[in-house]
């Protein structure tokens, strides 16, 4: 057992870090560029040098590398402050779906521009009535000639406002059971009839959008998979989403909390000496450390060729509530002053307050705590599903209550 690279991994890491050292854009170079432009500049540079989308086949603009090489690249790249993230949905979810279900000419047309960052994609899956029950989506797709006419609404779409293309799941037949009536497309976000509205979150941010469709027309050639096969196609996308779900991280962690506890006092003694503080911090350290080494174990499996499975849900299930508790804990340490959320006045520029206001989103986005626990129960432990009231019932006959 060790933390060392294999010889090939080490060779790859050296090469990657050397190239990064030489090519990461200097702050000056990015000055004045917005996030999109900066991201595109960096992505293009990686693409031209053959460092984009490590795992993709070369003919689609990738490097033809291994999963572990992708991880090593990510580790090395993470050592720098580089722009990015706007490509993650396109490269991480749309692309694998295109590779599995798209026609060859689609792959040749769209994948290289995804790899080079020239085109940005988003994902149009979730709907207001859907929530945890994703397949309950209602956005209507009607075939007219060899076009499809789309009407309905999507929600929680990140990057809709700056995306060029999107993947889209629709209901093409409401008269068959939920999973059987779906059809999957990709389309240009410039298509007439699409209206995008940002969603403001309680944290103040607006990373998500609502996307409305009014008689939006999509050529049948942009269908992925057969008519009614949309759910199977979606599973490809979702498998890759799950693999990309992080540790629900960000925000306050053990180190920040310790720093605060060392700085503040309780009864004029450093808070870090207070046993009730120490006990909580210790348990959180155990969780963070446990997730870290669980990650190392998956990486080891990955480097031996295993595919990341549902056990990754543990990161979010542990990390998100922990984040909420730790943020509240730090605000408590700050006492009345902790209720201030003001970049100038607040400790750590308001990071603790922002964490607290963001953490409910972490517990919900990408699957609520409860869904994560279900995934572990059903797909890891193999326990039975909950009774399904909508099983085998035509979608338009399924009870939906007031919504």
């Amino acid at each position: 057992m060790d933390f060392e690279d294999s010889q090939e991994e080490a060779r790859f890491r050296t090469e990657a870090s050397a190239w990064l050292k030489a090519n990461v854009p200097a702050r000056k170079e990015l000055e004045g560029l917005d996030e999109i432009a900066a991201s595109k500049l960096w992505q293009r540079r990686k693409y031209d040098a053959g460092w984009a989308c490590i795992r993709w086949p070369r003919e689609y603009g990738g490097r033809g590398g291994s999963a572990i090489e992708q991880v090593i690249w990510n580790q090395e790249e993470a050592k720098y402050q580089v722009p990015g993230g706007v490509f993650s949905i396109g490269q991480g979810m749309a692309a694998p779906t295109l590779m599995t279900w798209g026609a060859e000419e689609h792959k040749l047309r769209y994948l290289p521009k995804l790899a080079s960052g020239e085109e940005i994609w988003c994902q149009l899956f979730s709907e207001p009535a859907g929530g945890s029950d994703l397949a309950a989506l209602r956005t209507k797709a009607e075939k007219v000639g060899d076009e499809w006419v789309i009407n309905g609404q999507k929600i929680w779409t990140s990057g809709a406002h700056y995306s060029d293309y999107a993947i889209l799941v629709t209901r093409s037949d409401p008269n068959v059971p939920k999973h059987a009536g779906l059809t999957y497309f990709f389309l240009s976000m410039k298509t007439p009839g699409i209206v995008i509205k940002p969603i403001k979150q309680i944290s103040g941010g607006a990373n998500f959008n609502e996307v409305y469709f009014t008689d939006v027309r999509i050529p049948d050639s942009q269908r992925l998979g057969a008519i009614g096969q949309g759910w199977q196609v979606s599973l490809t996308t979702l498998m890759n989403e799950r693999a990309s779900i992080g540790a629900g991280g960000g925000g306050v962690g053990f180190r920040q909390a310790v720093k605060l506890a060392q700085k503040l006092t309780i009864d004029d003694k450093p808070a870090i000496e207070d046993r009730s503080i120490r006990a909580k911090l210790a348990d959180w350290f155990v969780q963070e450390s446990g997730l870290k080494y669980t990650g190392y174990r998956s990486l080891t499996a990955l480097s031996k060729g295993a595919i990341p499975g549902p056990e990754n849900s543990i990161g979010k299930l542990v990390g998100a509530p922990k984040n909420q508790e730790m943020a509240a804990f730090c605000i408590d340490l700050l006492e009345e002053h902790g209720a201030i959320w003001d970049e100038e006045l607040s400790e750590a520029k308001g990071m603790f307050q922002l964490s607290y206001m963001s953490s409910p989103g972490l517990r919900i986005a990408g699957g609520t705590d409860e869904i994560m626990a279900n995934i572990i129960a059903e797909r890891v432990l193999g326990l039975p599903q909950d009774p399904r009231a909508d099983k085998g019932i035509p979608f338009n006959k399924v009870p939906t209550g007031s919504n």
Partner: protein
């Protein structure tokens, strides 16, 4: 055994609730949250016109001379409606401090105006991050001049008078100072809070005219007694808010369907709501004890106050977090009202000392109680 509010008190509850439903609906809270209205535009005045600010003030000082049971009933309704008002600062803290330590002249000068709502009061303790102690206070009162910075101070922007905890001139602990916030030598700037529906300021005293409230060096003991009293009333606000959060979560879970049935039929949600109910019930029953101790000025007040406070913090924190969780993504959006409780609960969890302080006080009270 008659451990229940009286019919009159329940009548008052109905009255307060329908008043607040009308004058303090979610749309008002949202308007304040969005900065379209300031915290106390006119709600405080309407509340005063209802006589709520005068509840426990003796009749000789223009109050109604009612019991603390009535004030607890009102506090619960304030919490339920997440009222964006200075009520708590003025009534639970400033008015209480004056009744606790005020000289006849000070009482005569301020109680009638506070009771009528003509004046608003507040309380200033914190001077920065972490726990205030007699040892780390910097604000001083010397020769009738108050000097120092208090941050955050709730409702300073609307308050006329403040009770300020200062380092005792003799260096023997702390004293309380009474200062006219409209006087000279007082400057303040508003600050952004995690709960923007409650206005707070940073207040700088630069030789402002002020006088002692209570004896020199008695400030810390008085503050502890004051906070015990306020803790019971804030606990009732927290319990009111926790109940509202449970109601909100329940209503949504009944109407929201997933996989063909209401999410309220899934044990994960059922047991989540059951746990809210359990925590709320524990907290409420302890608040009854707190109300009784406050109303009867029982020796048990410190224990009752800490017990009510600790239970109320646990209940409101849990209910406000799991209310959002029950709503899923929508609960995290600005359009939904879940955030009212999520923000208010966090504010009320630290405004008069956080969980750890009160757990500690509870054990002090419970264990010394043993010895006695």
């Amino acid at each position: 055994m008659n451990f229940e509010f009286s019919e009159d008190q329940n009548l008052l509850r109905e009255q307060a609730r329908s008043f607040l439903d009308g004058e303090c609906p979610p749309t008002l809270v949202r308007a304040v949250l969005n900065g379209q209205k300031t915290g106390d535009s006119d709600l405080a005045k309407k509340i005063a016109d209802m006589g709520f600010t005068a509840t426990v003030v003796p009749e000789e000082h223009g109050g109604l001379g009612l019991s603390y049971y009535e004030l607890c009933v009102i506090a619960e309704e304030m919490g339920r409606s997440v009222a964006p008002t200075s009520f708590s600062s003025s009534v639970y803290l400033a008015t209480e401090a004056l009744m606790l330590a005020g000289s006849p002249a000070q009482k005569a000068a301020w109680l009638p105006r506070l009771a009528s709502g003509e004046a608003i009061g507040t309380f200033a303790m914190a001077e920065g991050p972490g726990r205030a102690t007699p040892g780390n206070l910097k604000t001083t009162l010397a020769g009738g001049k108050l000097t120092g910075t208090k941050v955050p101070v709730a409702d300073a922007s609307v308050a006329d008078v403040a009770v300020v905890v200062v380092k005792s001139a003799k260096g023997d602990g702390a004293s309380l100072a009474l200062v006219d916030l409209k006087g000279s030598g007082v400057s303040q700037s508003p600050i952004k809070m995690i709960d923007p529906t409650r206005t707070h300021s940073s207040v700088v005293f630069n030789g402002a005219a002020a006088e002692l409230l209570g004896a020199q060096g008695q400030g810390w003991a008085l503050t502890m007694r004051l906070l015990d009293r306020a803790a019971v009333l804030f606990a009732w606000e927290q319990v009111g808010g926790a109940q509202a959060a449970l109601d909100q979560a329940k209503e949504y879970a009944m109407g929201r369907y997933a996989f063909g049935r209401p999410i309220a039929s899934y044990q994960a949600i059922k047991h989540k709501l059951a746990n809210m109910y359990v925590k709320n019930t524990i907290a409420r029953s302890n608040c009854y004890f707190g109300a009784w101790a406050l109303a009867t000025n029982a020796d048990d007040l410190p224990l009752a106050a800490a017990t009510a406070r600790v239970g109320a913090i646990h209940a409101y924190e849990f209910a406000s977090r799991e209310d959002i969780q029950t709503h899923g993504g929508m609960g995290f959006t600005w359009e939904f009202d879940c955030q009212f409780h999520y923000r208010r609960s966090r504010l009320l969890s630290v405004n008069i000392g956080s969980l750890g302080q009160w757990q500690d006080k509870l054990i002090n009270a419970a264990v010394s109680g043993d010895a006695a």
